[in-house]
């Protein structure tokens, strides 16, 4: 799957905004983001801490907790609106249609239940299978994610697995009811560098084999470049640039994306120091007017300080920056 396919999108997010009701009034953490995801596609979401990427993922799974709430926009999944579904209907979607993988495999599993119990419970929640059939399916999945001797290890507890093995179990758990979308929130951040590539490969292979699309949330541009088909770059709760990953990596448009790319170390480059983007992302309580990036932007001009840029199309993708003109997408 490359770029955007012309078929109807699996997931369609339109103008999604998430705000937190605080004592000092609402704080908008995600501000009008829009993107589509085709079936089987891998979309990377990259940005600094607090850019709103994890929140977006949480909102799609319907697990946003008070005081956070969706205050504008809509999320459609397989054509159906899911942002306003009743809790019980949303629960049935989770796991069955939309799976999730979290950052830390060491804390994602219940320490008091064997991995088999957790798998079987998940399978039987969503599929009408007998205990034996669910167990066979669980063993099959453990084998698929590369756990050696799955029929023996199924009865072991999470603490008997290493970190990398546990993340494999987590992937099996997320995929065991065949969801068509998996939201992977920093799935390799807590792992050893040597294990990261293995887990990413596994995630990619499993999702391809089971026909699941992936939203890969990470702050690691290298992970995105290796894994994703498209990438959405987030800054201060907005998508500043979205497009096919090779285009965005090779020829970024938005000054923020350019800055990001220059800050990645490259083998063979002789630069003594990495370039960095001066300053830090603004806090939600003190967002600048206009484009949130303008105080750090080397190319900022008057319009940037007064009006928020809207996304305009650029080859294959879109960018929200006053430097680029066009019909809003």
């Amino acid at each position: 799957m490359t770029a955007q396919s012309k078929t109807s999108p699996l997931l369609s997010v339109r103008d999604l905004s998430i705000c937190f009701d605080t004592r000092h009034g609402p704080l908008r953490a995600v501000d009008g983001i829009t993107f589509d995801l085709a079936p089987g596609e891998i979309l990377g979401m990259v940005g600094e801490s607090g850019a709103g990427k994890s929140l977006t993922g949480t909102a799609i799974t319907g697990l946003l907790e008070r005081p956070g709430r969706i205050d504008r926009g809509e999320i459609r999944f397989e054509g159906q609106r899911i942002d306003n579904l009743p809790a019980e209907a949303m629960r049935r979607l989770r796991g069955r249609k939309i799976g999730a993988i979290f950052q830390d495999p060491l804390t994602s599993l219940n320490p008091l239940m064997t991995v088999g119990q957790q798998l079987i419970q998940t399978i039987r929640t969503h599929m009408n299978l007998s205990r034996e059939a669910a167990r066979r399916r669980a063993i099959e999945f453990l084998g698929e994610v590369g756990i050696p001797a799955p029929d023996a290890r199924i009865d072991q507890y999470p603490h008997q697995f290493s970190g990398g093995m546990r993340q494999r179990v987590v992937i099996a758990l997320a995929l065991c009811a065949e969801p068509s979308l998996v939201i992977a929130d920093e799935p390799t951040t807590a792992l050893d560098v040597s294990i990261q590539a293995q887990i990413l490969d596994l995630l990619k292979r499993m999702c391809r084999e089971h026909g699941a699309a992936v939203i890969l949330v990470t702050h690691d541009m290298g992970v995105i470049a290796e894994t994703a088909d498209r990438v959405a770059v987030m800054y201060s709760g907005r998508v500043v640039e979205i497009g096919p990953v090779e285009k965005v990596v090779r020829a970024p448009h938005h000054p923020y994306t350019k800055g990001l790319m220059q800050s990645i170390p490259r083998i063979g480059s002789n630069a003594e120091r990495l370039t960095q983007i001066d300053g830090a992302m603004p806090r939600l309580t003190a967002l600048p007017t206009g484009c949130a990036f303008h105080p750090r932007c080397p190319k900022a001009f008057d319009a940037c300080r007064s009006t928020k840029p809207v996304a305009v199309p650029v080859e294959g993708g879109a960018v929200a920056c006053h430097l680029y003109q066009g019909e809003p997408v």
Partner: protein
Amino acid sequence: MVAFVIRRLLQSVLVMLAVALIAFTMFRFIGDPVNSMLPENATAEDRQTLRENLGLDQPVTVQFTRFVSGVAKGEFGISYRNKRPVAEMIAERLPATLELVLAAAVFALLLGVPIGIYTALHPKGVLSNILNIGSLIGISVPTFVTGILLILIFSVWLNWLPSFGRGETVQIGWWSTGFLTVSGLKSLILPAIMLGLFQVTLIMRLVRAEMMEVLRSDFVRFAKARGLTNRAVNFGHALGNTLMPVITIVGLQLGSMIAFAIITETVFQWPGMGLLFIQAVSFADIPVMSAYLVLVALVFVAINMIVDLLYFAIDPRLSVRA
């Protein structure tokens, strides 16, 4: 695990020896028992004979060894006041106290755990707030006040329940139980509530705090993200993980409930060990007091041991390591 049990047993023996030493020294502070046991006009030979008969001419270490070996066999000597073996008196009183504590503990758990779970699952609910405030009252009012209030309301005003004693009891071997008669059960209600009320609030607050903590943990979020039912998430995944600290505290509280039963037993004239102890104190009946001390320590040590073993039953991570 066997190594753990053995290590734990050895520790327990050390603790019990220390307690026995304290119980033993109590005798030495009260003066020479020979003086109180013989008439004023006894001769020096009489004194010497009695001293030798009692073994008081032996070195302290020998006396302590004999005391410990006696205690180990359940011999605590003769009560100064009743002139009866202390072990016998305690055996008479023990069932009353244990039944009271058991009833109070069951009452506390049956009320405290569900309320704790409810308030954790609905932290902002009106009922939760009422229960939380109620628990503050429960935790701050002294138990004898609640006991006296209970007597005033249910015994004096409403005349539903007896205000003192154990009611009729049935003997099963040496054990006398109040569980099998109507009057026994009726007599049990008020003291059990008085003794258990503080524990209800404690258990409720503990379960609430632990459960809220666990509900925020990653594996609960991941369980929710897999679409498991609320029931499976809350009771299958969250509750089990809140139980460890709850078991620890309930275990320790069981010990202190036996110790604090003294107050309840005094208010309700409950014929248990606590009442026996209070009477012993007012008569300086040292054998009874030291026996009570040793026994309460033994209960604490035993409960702690059981709690540690329960961890193994609940948490698979422990059984593998040991």
